[in-house]
Structures are given as structure tokens and as C-alpha cells.
Symmetry: C2
Subunit: 276 residues, 2 copies
Amino acid sequence: MAISRSVFFVSDGTGITAETLGHSLLAQFQGLSVQQSRVPFVDDTDKAHDAVARINTAAIRDGSRPIVFMSVVRPEVSAVLREANAFFIDVLESFIGPLEVELGIKSTHTSGRFKGLAESQDYRRRIEAINFSLSHDDGMSHKELNTADLILVGVSRSGKTPTSLYLAMQYGVKAANYPLIPEDFERNQLPVELNKYRHKLFGLTIAPERLAAIREERRPNSTYSSLANCRQEVESAQKLMKREGIRWLDSSTKSIEEIAATILQTIKIELPGFQG
Amino acid sequence: MAISRSVFFVSDGTGITAETLGHSLLAQFQGLSVQQSRVPFVDDTDKAHDAVARINTAAIRDGSRPIVFMSVVRPEVSAVLREANAFFIDVLESFIGPLEVELGIKSTHTSGRFKGLAESQDYRRRIEAINFSLSHDDGMSHKELNTADLILVGVSRSGKTPTSLYLAMQYGVKAANYPLIPEDFERNQLPVELNKYRHKLFGLTIAPERLAAIREERRPNSTYSSLANCRQEVESAQKLMKREGIRWLDSSTKSIEEIAATILQTIKIELPGFQG
């Protein structure tokens, strides 16, 4: 029997922390079906009262109390929220106390992951990386490839563009990407522009069947999307990457997040320090 | 006095959940300085032993035990990890028990937020949205604007592109973006292509000083980047948006995440259902 619940992500910031953790937890329950609502920027008691009203309305409508993932720093705001008829998962408060003891300092109870972040060095790095990835998408420019952290290579539609953008956005990694095309396979050599950046190259490959399906959506009934052509391109690309000693992974059954985390692990780009 | 600690994000998946929550928590402690390490894909006891060795090495080097944010589903793997000399924040296990009681069902103890996700509808929606945002960046195409969830407008470099991409990547929202340019201001009218999509428009504005600084990095000493020109463009854009009744926000001091969450709240794009 399917179990159904309303779920709220309530936060004094964007709600990304509550939502990320909430999804990880909810994914552990098979057969659970949920109706999700985001309630961001609940940073005063008035907004908390509004949130309580929404939660209580859902409780009455559903005939069961909603699950509330709560990420709110100010105690007077969370106190209001706790008046709602709900089951609470307090994603910050559960750990702040133990961390205070461990570190021997008090938390500031200031809100939000991104407070002041727009001006921070880490944030600037991410924005720069996004601009870099966009201007170095699909071999668009060879300029400044020397400043790239990483250059993704692979056949058209193997997942290079979304992976580059995700690496930039989530991790501030400057990832260019460069297509491997039939001309490269005929010569059985890398595009000449990439020769001096061999140590930065990382390949993506993909199952020919999946590639054909993806290409078919873009150019139906074309040679480009035919299974025979996809097979040949993928095989040639793998042969080329093997010959050139390029590390690669298969993107067929991996999410962008998994591809990105795997690449970072392999090329060992270290995380920057963090100042609280 | 600054307190310094090593921090590890250990996960059987990508580690995004542990890292997101970890950053929110660490941001609560002013004066804390940390050295971060990601240890993803720890899904068997061998990898767990490797992780323990890394953590213990840091403990000896630092002379203090590291903080480990742990997101691991299989009990035999987390049992090994707990042998490390560290302070643990178990981001899943802390809440799984209470949730099991609340829902009246057992968790599956299967790992990872993204298991099977690459094939899921939600994931396909996000990939489609990324492709849509890329092909509708900077007014590049008017085709299929009818299928956009949202069209961002604003002067060049007001933050439209990264915001569109973030909305696509994080939320699966199909966001196009369209520049407002001097010709539009002379006519004091929206680009004609946008007239029939007025209900989907959302504006970004920015402080002229900040805009000038951003533009200066791209085209130093140009009219384009001069403060006088930025002032005039921003003023004209705001006048136009006001006249046309377009909702807008100021991106100057907001992160992309905050801009995206604010826009979603305003235009009320609902979250899809979720099946565990």
C-alpha cells in the first residue's frame, strides 16, 4: 500500500540545505509518495505564522500531519514553526549543539548558507568558472585553455556540456569541453589544439544505443543519429582515447552529479579552505 | 583566537548531501578555519578502511580530531568509518529512525540520492531544461519561447545567464533569457518577440556601480563599461519594466541561489510529486 504525505521544506534562506537532505532521506522509503512544497526566506515570526497556516491546512486536507524539513537559525522563528501540526526534522539544530561542544565555541545563530556569500571569493570563483565553461563550450574557443582546470572530450551529445556547467556551478571548476569529431577519428589523432593540454583531458563515452536515442530527439532519421553511425563514432573515440592515454568514464547510466564527483576524485582538484 | 580543524565529507554517493549540510553548519561558527576533503563513493568496507586511514592521518598531523560529515546508508560501511579518530555528524542515520516511526514503514537502506535517478523523469526534465536554457541564452532564439517556464530580462551582465542555468540545473525550470538593449530603451518598449509572453517575464536589475565593475572586467575602458553608461542603461531598464508591469529584483547583493529561490517563490512554479 502506498503511503502519501505532504512535505514542506522551510528555511530562512533558499531552502537548498533542507531540500537536499530531505530528498536523500525520503529516497530511503520505497512506496512513499509525497507532495512537496518549498517555503524559503522565512526569517521573521510573521512569515513563520504564514508557514504554520499552510502546513496546518495541508494536515487537515490530507488527514495526516505533514513532514517538515526545517532549516531556520533564529530560535524565535523556529519556535513559531513548531506550533504547526507536523513532524519536524530540524536539519541544523540537531547538530549545532554537539558541534558547539566539540569545537568549544558558540555558534553565531546567523542565518543562511549564502549570507555575504555573493561577495566572497568562493562565490566569485564559481561565477568565473560558469563564464569560462560557457565561453569554452563545444570547442568554441582555444583561448585561455591554459587556465582551464579540466578539458572534457567526447563525441557530440556524450554529456560534456551539462557536466562542464555543473562542475563550474557546484564546485567552481573551470571546465572547457571539446568535441571529438569524424575528422579526428580519420586521422586517429586528437585535435591539435589539445596536444599541449593532454594532462587536463578527461573523456566521456556513452553506450551507442543511448547516444542514438539522445541524438534522435535532436535530428530525427539522420545519419548523425543512426545506431550504426553512433556505434562507429563511440568505438573510434574510445580507440583514440585509449591510444592517447586519456582517462575516461561511461556517462550512460550516471547522473551529471555522479559524473562530476567521479571526475573530481580522479583529477584530484582540492577543495579550497573555508572560513566560518 | 582562530580554531582550525580538518573536515571530511564521506559518502557512499556523490557527497553533495553531506557537503551541503556541512557547509550550512560550519557557516554558523565564526572564526573557525577548516581544511576540507571530499571522500565520495565509499560504498564498501575496503573503501571505508581507506577513508579511516586518511582521517586518522589528518588527526595525527593536526593534533586534533577531524570533523566527519557522513552520509552512508549501509550499516557495515558506517561501522568501519566510526573506527576513525573523529567527531561524526551522521546526516542520514540521525533522522532515519524517527522517520521510520513517523511513516510506519522501514527504510530500504539503499544508497544515494541519485541511484536510478539518471533514468528518472525528474532527471530528464533537468537535462531538457539545461539544453533549453543554453539554446535560449541571450535572446539567441525565439523558437519555442511558448514552452519556456520563464523568460528573464535585463541589461547585459545583470546575472541572467547564470540564473537561467541554475534554475534549469537545480530545479528543472525551462528559463530563457533576453537582453534589454539601448534600442529597446530608445523605443521605450519591450523587444517585440516578448510581447505575447509578458506573463512569463521576470526582470533582473543591478546597482550601476556593480554593473560597471563586472563589465570593466570584460571590456576595460569602454563606453559599455563606463559608470555613466551603466547608470543610464539600468535606469532605462527599470523605467521600461515598471511601465510594462514586469516583476523584477535587484541581483547586486544576492547569490544566484537566492535570486533563483526568490524568482521561484514569485512565479510559483510548483514542485513535482516525488516517489520514493
